[in-house]
Every structure is written in structure tokens, then in C-alpha cells.
């Protein structure tokens, strides 16, 4: 035994000795600072994995409680009961005016679920191995879950869709599992940058430019500077990520969050770090901060990273075919898709000025069970609560996404069509609404009259990422002007935008009378001077 030890030591010295001798000034031994465990050393991960659940089984051997924690979250359930409105929401239930809904399209949409195998309504939410650890803990950037595989990664080269000749390259799960670490902008972004089916499509303030952004794109996430990850603000505990689109914090009057302070609320707000009166040099601006969300001035435009966001989507023009009966794809000068037979017409934009609205954090969704009427006004997919006088609202920047989507004019409800899927009824394959709608509505468990029409809708997305450096925040005249950014905002008196006829008349009367007095006085002085 002693001999063995001595040999080992000799071997180690032989291996490390010459390297040290070569260097004049030895560098410190590299230490991984982002993790306390090199997962490459764990036997459980030194094998071939043919599927995601096999990796999870290995993870759970040590991290015994992790899957149970995930099972409690919105990321897992895609279901959320809004305690204020009592509406049952979550991705599983809500409808939008992008790809419309996940019901009937699970295998495609669940590529962004933190699980494996959610291919239909019978998914087993209680099974621990169905949790996908790698979606959030991959550090290699190589972990991918292509749409169409129900959230499963592809481990062997696979032709998809079958018969298309397109090959999806298989990935080596062992390599990825051996390098797991903390979640990052890249892992969160794999789904959240691509909401709506592509880079930057949905949110406008989140796209792949935030993976390693410059300071101009986001002052906090600046990869060369503060380098915040998403989790720096969205402080996560027991795998539950803080912050929510369903119950946003529109007005945070709780001040800075101090460790240990009870009832602090949402840690992801600006106020949670910056307090309610953050402008030290210009106290006047703190007065603004009682009515105006920080984001309104500090995010002058969204989609600033060179990636366009979708602004409109007209489903009513979908379904056209070319002379040969094939699907059509049209692109603009920059190579961005503006028409697809599968989806209809789009418009896209970069560097977009937000629209502004009073917002109190209350969001009421139009769900499949809600009655809607086709009128001149657009149907609101999500009604944003707020008014100048409720004491809970602030003026917020919004991306307002406008579209036209199918609805049932007899039952007066929105429609959840079956779009994705390599089958006869999938709209994206056969472009036939009469097949896609009944199947989609049946999968949603909703009645369908057999008739469809298109209805104009809009959906609001509060803007909160892509915070600009302070010298790029809005100047006064952006709002304090006749046709400034806050033109449509009621309930506040905005100097230079607003006027009061009585005050204006009185003011101009004083000016006129003063002028008259000066001229009169001067004239009298001149006249009387000549007499002497």
C-alpha cells in the first residue's frame, strides 16, 4: 500500500512538475468559480444517455428533492390561478394572437416545457423523470429541444419531418450533463428569447442580443460590465423563479429589499434595488417616479439589439398557394419573413417606441370560455387594468401587438386551431381551416359551431428589459411637448403638452398690459422731455 502511494505521488509530481518548471511566473491553478462540483467526475454521468429522462434519473440520485421542487412551479405546470381575478391562466390555458394556443399543438409547443414527453393532454405531471434538468442547467449552449418532439432532445441524427430530407443532428447528452451549472442568460433565453416562435418575436424587450449584450442594450446585463444573469433580479428559491407576467407588480412602494425583511414582495422590480427615490442629483425626477414607471424613461425603445420583433400578425391572409400549389414565403429586403402561407402577413420593427398606458398590475385575459363581439374596436386578448385615480397605477411602456385571428361568429368565442403537426388536419401542413379548427376545438374541449371568421385583436406586453444607460434615458421634451410620447395619457397635467384657457388668457393679458404700460410710460417720458 505504501509502495502504491509513493508511486502515485511520484506519478503526480512527474505530471505536474515539468509544467511548473517551464513557467517563469506560474499562473494560479484554474478553479471553477461558478460551481462547487465538477460533474464530469461523477460516475453516474459517465455513460451514454439515449434520452432526457435517463439523465434526470442520474441527477436525482444526488439531487433527490429537485424534481419535487420543480413540480410545484409555473414552469412545470403551465397553470396559474390568479388570486385577484380568479382566472385559471398559465400557458396551458391562455390564448394569444401569435401562434394562438398550445392546446392541440403540444408536441411543438412543449419544446419549451421544462419536461420530457408532453405530447398530448395525458402527460404525467407527477413523474419525476419527466423533469428536464438540462433545459436550465446546460452550460455548453449545445442542449436543444427541437419543436415536434414533445420537449425531448434528439440524441441520434433524425430526419424531421419524416420524408423531408432535413436532418436534425443528434446531441451528446453525456457531454452536456457532465458540464451542468447555474442557469444563465443563454438557458433562460433558449425559451424566453424565442417566445412566439422565433428570436425576439413576442416580447420585443427580450431577444438573443441579451445573451451577451453591450451596455447600450442593457445596462445591467452588459457582458463586459455588471453582467447580470436573469436570476440576479428574478431571484430564485427552491427552483421557483420570482416575477410573473400574470400578476405583474405595476407599482412597488415597498422600497429596497433588505435581507431578512418580511413581506418584501417581488424581488425583480427596479425599486427592489433602487428604492422609490433613486434620483439623487435631480430630486424633481423622484416626483415623476410617483406616477411614472422607471421603465417609461429608462427604456426609450425596445428591440434595440439588432433583432426585429413582430408588431402585427394577420392570420386572415394565411392559406394562399402559388401557381404550383406550393406554400409561399415572402421576405423583406433584410431577409425577414413578411408572409407565410402557414401563418399569414407580418410586420416587424426594430428600435420601437413603446405605447404608454396607466397600468395597475391587474390583467384580465380573454379565454376560450369568454364571449366576444366583433365590433369596430379590437378585442383585447389581455385587458390591462389601470387609471390615473386608483392610486395603484403608474404610466407604463407597452408593446401592443395587433393581429387578426380566427373566431367563431355563432358561439362568439375565440378559436384554438390545430396548427403544428405532421398530420392531415394540421393547418401548417394542409392550410385547411375547416380541418384544423374542429380538431383544435375538440382538443380544447370547447364547442365549435362549424363557422369561422376573423376578428381583430390586440395584446399588451409591458416592457421591462433592455434598460438603457442613464445618459440614454428619455429627455424632458420627449413627453413635455404637444405631440410627445404621452399624448394620449389622461389624468395628469403635463406642462408644454397641456394648457388651461383661463390661465393662458390671464398670462397673455399680463404680458400685454405690461407691454402697454412700458410703451405708454416711455412715450410719456419722451413727450414730456421735449417740453423742457
Amino acid at each position: 500500500m505504501k509502495v502504491a502511494l509513493a508511486l502515485c505521488c511520484a506519478g503526480w509530481l512527474a505530471a505536474s512538475g515539468p509544467v511548473r518548471a517551464e513557467e517563469a511566473k506560474p499562473e494560479a491553478k484554474p478553479v471553477k468559480l461558478t460551481t462547487t462540483a465538477d460533474h464530469g467526475k461523477f460516475k453516474q454521468l459517465q455513460k451514454t444517455f439515449d434520452s432526457g429522462p435517463e439523465v434526470t434519473k442520474a441527477c436525482l440520485e444526488c439531487h433527490t428533492e429537485a424534481a419535487g421542487q420543480i413540480h410545484r412551479t409555473k414552469h412545470w405546470k403551465w397553470e396559474f390561478l390568479n388570486p385577484e381575478t380568479k382566472q385559471t391562466l398559465g400557458k396551458k390555458t391562455v390564448i394569444n394572437n401569435f401562434c394562438i394556443s398550445i392546446a392541440s399543438n403540444y408536441a411543438s409547443c412543449t419544446s419549451c416545457h421544462v419536461g420530457y414527453g408532453w405530447k398530448d393532454a395525458n402527460f404525467d405531471f407527477a413523474k419525476q423523470e419527466n423533469v428536464d434538468c438540462l433545459a436550465c442547467h446546460d452550460t455548453t449552449g449545445n442542449y436543444k429541444k427541437p419543436p415536434g418532439f414533445a420537449g425531448n432532445p434528439v440524441t441520434k441524427d433524425t430526419e424531421f419531418p419524416p420524408g423531408s430530407g432535413k436532418i436534425i443532428k443528434g446531441i451528446d447528452l453525456a457531454k452536456i450533463a457532465q458540464k451542468v451549472g447555474k442557469s444563465s442568460r443563454d438557458t433562460c433565453g433558449a425559451c424566453h428569447f424565442n417566445g412566439g416562435g422565433g428570436d425576439g418575436v413576442k416580447h420585443g424587450d427580450m431577444d438573443s442580443s441579451l445573451a451577451a449584450p453591450t451596455k447600450d442594450i442593457d445596462v445591467h446585463m452588459d457582458a463586459e460590465g455588471l453582467d447580470f444573469t436573469c436570476g440576479t433580479c428574478h431571484k430564485t428559491s427552491s427552483h421557483d423563479v420570482a416575477g410573473s407576467r400574470y400578476t405583474p407588480t405595476a407599482k412597488d412602494d415597498k422600497g429596497v429589499q433588505v435581507r431578512g425583511k418580511a413581506g418584501s414582495g417581488n424581488p425583480a422590480t427596479c425599486v427592489a434595488c433602487h428604492d422609490n427615490a433613486p434620483h439623487k442629483k435631480e430630486p424633481r425626477l423622484n416626483h415623476h417616479a410617483t406616477k411614472i414607471a422607471c421603465q417609461t424613461c429608462h427604456i426609450p425603445t425596445y428591440a434595440r439589439g439588432g433583432i426585429a420583433t413582430k408588431m402585427t400578425w394577420d392570420w386572415s391572409t394565411a392559406g394562399k398557394r402559388d401557381a404550383d400549389g406550393k406554400h409561399i414565403v415572402k421576405k423583406d429586403a433584410k431577409g425577414r419573413i413578411t408572409y407565410e402561407s402557414r401563418k399569414g402577413d407580418f410586420t416587424l420593427a426594430e428600435n420601437v417606441k413603446p405605447e404608454y398606458a396607466w397600468f395597475n398590475g391587474n390583467v384580465q385575459y380573454t379565454l376560450l370560455t369568454d364571449k366576444i363581439e366583433k365590433t369596430e374596436q379590437r378585442t383585447q386578448i389581455n385587458k390591462m387594468g389601470g387609471s390615473p385615480s386608483d392610486g395603484k397605477s403608474m404610466i407604463w411602456p407597452m408593446k401592443v401587438f395587433r393581429g387578426s385571428q380566427p373566431y367563431d361568429p355563432v358561439n362568439k368565442s375565440l378559436i384554438t386551431p390545430h396548427t403544428a403537426g405532421n398530420d392531415d388536419t394540421g393547418f401548417w401542413k394542409n392550410l385547411d381551416w375547416d380541418k384544423a379548427i374542429p380538431v383544435g376545438m375538440q382538443d380544447s374541449g370547447a364547442p365549435y359551431s362549424g363557422k369561422f371568421d376573423f376578428i381583430k385583436t390586440e395584446m399588451s406586453w409591458p416592457i421591462t428589459h433592455m434598460v438603457a444607460p442613464k445618459d440614454k434615458a428619455l429627455g424632458c421634451v420627449e413627453c413635455h411637448a404637444r405631440d410627445g410620447r404621452l399624448t394620449g395619457i389622461q389624468g395628469v397635467y403635463l406642462p408644454a403638452r397641456d394648457n388651461n384657457r383661463l390661465v393662458d388668457t390671464a398670462g397673455w393679458a399680463i404680458v400685454f398690459l405690461t407691454l402697454l404700460g412700458v410703451i405708454g410710460h416711455g412715450t410719456l417720458r419722451i413727450v414730456t422731455a421735449r417740453k423742457h
Partner: protein, 128 residues
């Protein structure tokens, strides 16, 4: 026989010990350095920006091995060196941020990013 086994065990352990101290390249740090230092300079030079996806993994490996920048006028390595970073750090935040990173580690980081972002890499990447 026992001695052979012991020797073998010693040899294996020494390999493990040696590899434990080997540097595990950080492609994300390479990404920031490549885009902030390499690209920021290339963008204003006549040659323009060079996307990692413009070369294959093998081409990048050969380029880094040859270590010839500007057709051999100088080396690639020097642009990743501490001395170079010190010379530009007043005007380049990435150079300032990584001022103390050992040369070989940063070179490995950049190489990892280029390999990953190459035309035939795992995630073909652009300059920005």
C-alpha cells in the same frame, strides 16, 4: 504482477491528477472577448468583421495553430495577451474586465467559442 497493477494504478492516477489541473475552456468568456476585442477592431479595419461561422472547426484550429495574424505580420496570440489587454484597456471594457486572466486560458476560451460557433460547429455564430 502486484507491482504491475500498482504501477498501472499510479500511472492512471497521475493522468487524472494532471487532467484535474487542466483548464476547462469557457466559451462564454471567449464570446465576449471575441466580439468586444477582435470584432470591435476588425469592424473599422478594411478587412471588416469575421463571423465565427465563416470558417470550419478545422480551419479555425489551423488558423490558431499557425498563429499568423494579418498574413503573418504578427501573431494571433499577442492579441489575447495580458500586455495587449493592458495597452487597450483604457478604451475597451472587455480588455479591462479580463485584464488578469492568464493568456493561455483566454486563448482557450476564444478557441472554444470559435470551435462552437464554426460553420460546422454546434452553434454557428455571428459577430454580434
Amino acid at each position: 504482477m502486484k507491482l504491475i497493477k500498482t504501477l498501472a494504478a499510479g500511472a492512471i492516477l497521475s493522468v487524472v491528477a494532471a487532467s484535474a489541473s487542466a483548464y476547462d475552456a469557457d466559451w462564454k468568456r471567449g464570446r465576449v472577448y471575441y466580439r468586444s476585442v477582435c470584432t470591435s477592431c476588425h469592424a473599422v479595419q478594411p478587412i471588416g468583421t469575421i463571423n465565427p461561422s465563416s470558417k470550419t472547426k478545422a480551419e479555425w484550429a489551423a488558423y490558431l495553430k499557425a498563429d499568423k495574424h494579418a498574413k503573418g505580420k504578427d501573431t494571433v496570440k499577442q492579441y489575447v495577451s495580458k500586455a495587449y489587454r493592458a495597452s487597450i484597456k483604457s478604451g475597451n471594457k472587455a480588455a479591462e474586465k479580463f485584464a488578469d486572466t492568464p493568456d493561455q486560458e483566454l486563448l482557450d476560451d476564444v478557441a472554444a467559442f470559435l470551435t462552437k460557433g464554426a460553420k460546422d460547429g454546434d452553434s454557428p455564430a455571428s459577430c454580434n
